[in-house]
Symmetry: C2
Subunit: 405 residues, 2 copies
């Protein structure tokens, strides 16, 4: 057994290195239903204006405003999809329904609540102004306008706009295909009873959830074989069909660790140790094919924190997002956070509202094996290495995982 | 054509009524992989402690601390899953790997970096304290501790904890099955060229994205038939196999609207008009079976805002979440928001960071047909009815849809 010979790399430097080596995935055409959570490869430009025609905003009567104050003959109806196509004669009104086309000649719409109706006639108030209660062509969107910028997340409104403009599919960046593998002789499947010294493989399920949330398509490889040759075969095959390999465990310096030597033989190991707490044995490699391999430490918190710091931003970059990082908000420290020697520490905190402020409360023992420190955590507070940590009362930028109500 | 006879109900009152009439869905057992985004029906209690045994936090040597300072014989190895089961003799050390069981008799672990190794021996520093570098049984979780409370969202850490405790599946509330239908003679399918007065059915895709984000399982029914009998058959059948029907369009007072009369004949229409802008013609009905029907207005922004105000909280309640509302944060108004007569208005805003504050910037024209007002919107600002609106500079609680970086 020997101490690791990998240099200890500063956490921020390591994160920058990973992002730099991460490719943006190629374009693919995706049906609207599958577009949410993706990012466009190019700005979406409106090929036409919206609405395409003058459309009533209400149910009522389309008239010439000059005819207000009199009893008007009802000359017909303009329902959505069934326009009144002739010129509206002077002294006449057309029934119009919400979404209906404003008939040629009409210049205003009177709401049904404001008229008096009879058999074939309608009386509208006098002095009713022109230009009321309808949307003009181009009011909602001008032709040539940027509807959604490349790299922005596609959500309900963006997808709705694309549909309204006639795009049944959009060109977005590919979704990273990730192969997920656990390593460790001590692991048993969930549902099996662990023997002496054994534990359940829990990282698989935590990382599967984290990968899916980040937008990856995940293949579960299960627990890795504990002999070098079958392991090599599995990994080589997985990296043929996936953009990313994520392993957890098997990256510390124990004599039984097989992951790092394998990655060294397959490609270039850029990182083998980082000044990060938890997560020091984090490993990152690239293959000649451009594919990525992340070796996450085996302790549950270490695996999820290194996922947050290194893997999630890489996946977001692959997906083509302009912003690869989680949002940050100022929070007031509700406790003294001590520094972790020469390592950047990501402390897990719950957030509480106090007046207009968010206050960070520790989730308890920050041990790398204590997953309860992440359960219900709303944010991560980055405590810089060295120095005296962060005193209670200080306002810091916290990395937001979720918001309390 | 007549004005609506439904009473105008205050928006907050209407939202409370919807929630009150919304059932929580029954329990189902779901595999861990499908648990993220669900909520437990009962608190998850730890049936055993974690870790189950004293486990090394590092790679190194397990010793009796009293033996520090001397050269110790290496008596064996305790690797993860392959414990050293005998009593560690005095004057001896056991190689121990991260996650390995602390051998009986050993009371501390010395990191590999701190020792000198030879052939079958190891020298450890003198005065090395007991209790270092290992996790005690129960350190991470005590037996009987509440791991995840009912009603809390299940994420990576929660799912990982459940796996570590041996649960391959969890009992969660059901996922709402939603049938989504568009109505309107003017609608054509995306990809088809609209004729005069026609528009593309865009609400289907926007609402599909919004429903999926809220956690619903959606069936697309397409555009509704425009005759009463086929429409009735479709709706009756859909409500046999779904918990919720969501329609968009067809709920204003036009002579061709079929949705409200149909819902009246099938169940009880509780709401037919609300004091909400946009979204006044919002309709809500319950069926004798307990199933829900939401009639959303046809204008794109109206349909998404009524979804946010009424449908999303109902879906979150069905899923069993303790919190049914989106998070709120204080934001400073960056513009003057005028009040919309007697209606509560949900204005769409982008958020900008200015120092420690979030500042709300209007997304432009707030017309109910202008979906661009929701594209890239980070939050909704609720402007109360009557009065003078909200002046620039005022701090309000905004409903957060997403956060800027």
């Amino acid at each position: 057994m020997r101490a690791s010979t990998y240099p200890l790399v500063d956490a921020a430097e390591a994160a920058a290195l990973v992002l730099e080596r991460t490719p943006v995935l190629p374009a693919e055409d995706v049906a609207l239903a599958d577009c949410p959570g993706r990012a466009l490869t190019d700005d979406l430009i409106a090929p036409a204006q919206l609405p395409p025609f003058a459309a009533s905003a209400v149910d009522g009567f389309a008239i010439r405003s000059a005819d207000g104050g009199g009893r008007l003959r009802v000359a017909g109806e303009s329902a959505a999809g069934r326009p009144f196509t002739e010129d509206l004669p002077a002294g006449a009104a057309a029934r119009i329904l919400t979404g209906g086309v404003l008939p040629p000649g009409a210049d205003t719409v009177v709401m049904v609540e404001e008229v008096e109706q009879g058999d074939g006639w309608v009386t509208v108030p006098g002095g009713f102004p022109a230009g009321r209660n309808f949307h003009r062509p181009g009011d909602d969107l001008r032709q040539g306008e940027v509807v959604v910028a490349r790299g922005e997340p596609l959500g309900p409104a963006e997808v709705g706009l694309a549909a309204a403009l006639g795009f049944p599919q959009l060109r977005v960046h590919g979704r990273p295909r990730v192969a997920l593998m656990s390593t460790g002789d001590e692991l048993v499947e969930v549902g099996q009873r662990p023997g002496p010294g054994q534990i359940v493989d829990s990282n698989r399920w935590a990382l599967l959830a984290a990968l899916a949330e980040a937008g990856a398509a995940v293949t579960l490889l299960g627990v890795a074989p504990d002999r070098p040759e079958p392991l090599r075969e599995l990994v080589v095959d997985a990296l043929r069909h996936h953009d990313v390999l994520v392993t957890s465990g098997g990256v510390s310096v124990g004599t039984h660790d097989l992951v790092k030597p394998l990655l060294e033989s397959l490609g270039e190991v850029h990182l083998g140790r980082v000044r990060l707490k938890p997560g020091k044995p984090f490993t990152f490699a690239t293959l000649p094919s451009g594919r990525l391999a992340f070796g996450l430490p085996g302790f549950p918190v270490s695996s999820l924190i290194t996922f947050e710091v290194f893997v999630r931003p890489a996946l977001r970059k692959m997906l083509g997002f302009a912003r690869t990082q989680r949002p940050a908000l100022p929070v007031r420290m509700g406790y003294d956070a001590s520094a972790a020697g020469d390592r950047t520490e990501y402390q897990r905190v719950a957030l509480r509202r106090e007046g207009g402020e968010l206050v960070a409360v520790s989730t308890g023992s920050q041990s790398s094996s204590r997953l309860m420190s992440l359960a219900g955590a709303h944010a991560l507070v980055k405590v810089p290495p060295g120095g005296t940590g962060i005193a209670a009362g200080t306002v810091v930028e916290a990395i937001i995982l979720s918001l309390p109500i």
